[in-house]
């Protein structure tokens, strides 16, 4: 006789609910007869089934929102709960500590190269090109033009660390136990599993974060407390001051993946950089538009068309010269 007990739990429950057929009851009895262990197993399933009756499965713990509201209270709490100050009992301790610190410093020096952790892998895109990458943990990254993504040593370990120059759209594989951290010039982003766009081009004065799924923690590199940014929200950090402010969420922040060029009240120098990257041209900007801002959407337009539209509203002239584009 061949009996597979793989679904024994289902039969136990059927029996508890008095819905088991005579044959199923027989199967259960045969299974139970094998020994105390099986009786015990049965009891556990029964206890779980009974306990689950009292559980309100419709309850919504709303964990993301609750964390945000808790995180908002932390800085104040951090001020009241002061950290411990280490005091050395006598000079011997102090001397030992200094020697120890020196040793640690030496070890650190030997094990880390200048400029932080070693780079395990690097992806980059030239002007005018985009790239899609799948990282070892399954995370998908779309890399915009003239960008560089470095996977740091230990990515497969406790923390998934990356460094980004330029712009990327990240769909991060969920793994609550292994935080996903992106460092950029002047800002830091930490998530567990979510999707967001990070615009961190060097020439921009701010780093812009647009979150499309889940929740992201945004902070300056050395900042203690991160600002949570949730799906449907965007924030920018001023690189100089490290201040974070929320900015209007613009679905089009990720449109570059499809070749759409979006300007939304964008400072002129940034417009010029975007054109350079998008169309892979070098631009000499001799206009007097430095303080102006510009808004428009160009859906896969050739450079000439784009320029024509811009010229009509901004009134500058464009000409090709030695393989460069001169705006004046």
């Amino acid at each position: 006789m061949e009996n597979n007990y793989n679904d024994i739990e289902a039969i136990i429950i059927k029996s508890l609910e008095r819905q088991a057929s005579a044959r199923e009851e027989q199967v259960l009895q045969d299974w139970l007869r094998q020994g105390d262990k099986y009786q015990h197993h049965y009891e556990e399933v029964r206890a779980l089934w009974e306990a689950a009756r009292d559980v309100d499965f419709n309850l919504d713990p709303d964990t993301d929102r609750e964390w945000e509201s808790l995180a908002a209270k932390l800085p104040a709490a951090a001020l009241t709960g002061r950290g411990k100050v280490l005091r050395f009992q006598n000079w011997r301790f102090a001397a030992a500590a200094i020697v120890l610190a020196g040793l640690l410093g030496l070890i650190t020096f030997y094990f880390t190269r200048p400029g932080g952790p070693a780079i395990a892998q690097e992806f980059s895109t030239p002007l005018g090109e985009r790239k899609e990458i799948q990282l070892a943990d399954g995370t998908l990254v779309a890399l915009n033009a003239e960008s560089r993504l470095q996977v740091l040593e230990g990515f497969d370990g406790k923390e998934r660390r990356l460094r980004l120059e330029g712009e990327g759209y990240f769909q991060v594989s969920t793994d609550a136990g292994r935080p996903f951290i992106i460092e950029t010039e002047g800002a830091r982003v930490q998530v567990t599993g979510t999707a967001f766009n990070l615009n961190a081009y060097q020439e921009n004065t701010s780093v812009r974060l647009t979150v499309t799924e889940g929740s992201v923690r945004f902070s300056a590199p050395k900042e203690e407390i991160a600002q949570p940014v949730t799906a449907g929200n965007a924030a920018e950090m001023d690189r100089a001051s490290g201040k974070i402010r929320s900015i209007p969420f613009d679905q089009r922040a990720t449109a570059w993946q499809k070749g759409v060029l979006v300007f939304a009240n964008t400072p002129w120098p940034e417009v010029v950089s975007s054109l350079e990257r998008h169309y892979a041209v070098e631009i000499s900007d001799e206009t007097e538009l430095q303080d102006k801002r510009y808004s428009a959407v160009f859906d896969n337009q050739p450079l000439e068309e784009t320029l024509k539209v811009m010229q009509a509203t901004l009134g500058f002239e464009a000409e090709r010269k030695d393989g460069r584009l001169l705006l004046k």
Partner: protein, 205 residues
Amino acid sequence: MSERTATEQLNALFYRFQPMLVAFANRYLRSEEEAREAVQDVFLGVWNNREHLQLDESLRSYLFTATRNKALNYLEKRKIEAVPLDAVHLQQSSGPGVEEQLQAEETKAVIFDEVSRLPERCREVFLLSRSEGLSYREIAERLALSEKTVENQISIALKRLRARVYGGGGSGNLLSLALLWLLLFFLQKTGFALGVAIVNPVVNQ
């Protein structure tokens, strides 16, 4: 410990325990909103005492006890209002059976947490069976599945709950289970009686 690692640890702890603690507090308070609030108070307390606490898994029983105390405080505060009848038995703070009661409520919180982590289809089947009381056949009809699949999903759900609550053999052991069955089969074929004696009890653990 630097502030940053402390906030990171608190974040990890929060995401790990907040859902089940809210479910736990809700058993006392019967108010989702108050339950969430109580749990947030508990974590704020953890933060303020972080110098004396280890912000990791070892905080588990502290968290449950603190949440229970917080919930009882809340009930105390609204004593003019009617306390839900079925929550009355949870209110004694000491005496015989309290420890068992706490244990039972903690188990329910863990069940809530584990069910929320089940794969979509599996959770759906489990809830239709447990909460809606549908028979396997009714579930099969409703979800356009075979009855066999429904049984299978129910078993997976219960195996996972059992592994989580009692630490017994759960679905994580399915592979080793399969390997053991293979081994058993092989040993039977070769008439290795001793093998059967050793393997058999393990297989169904």
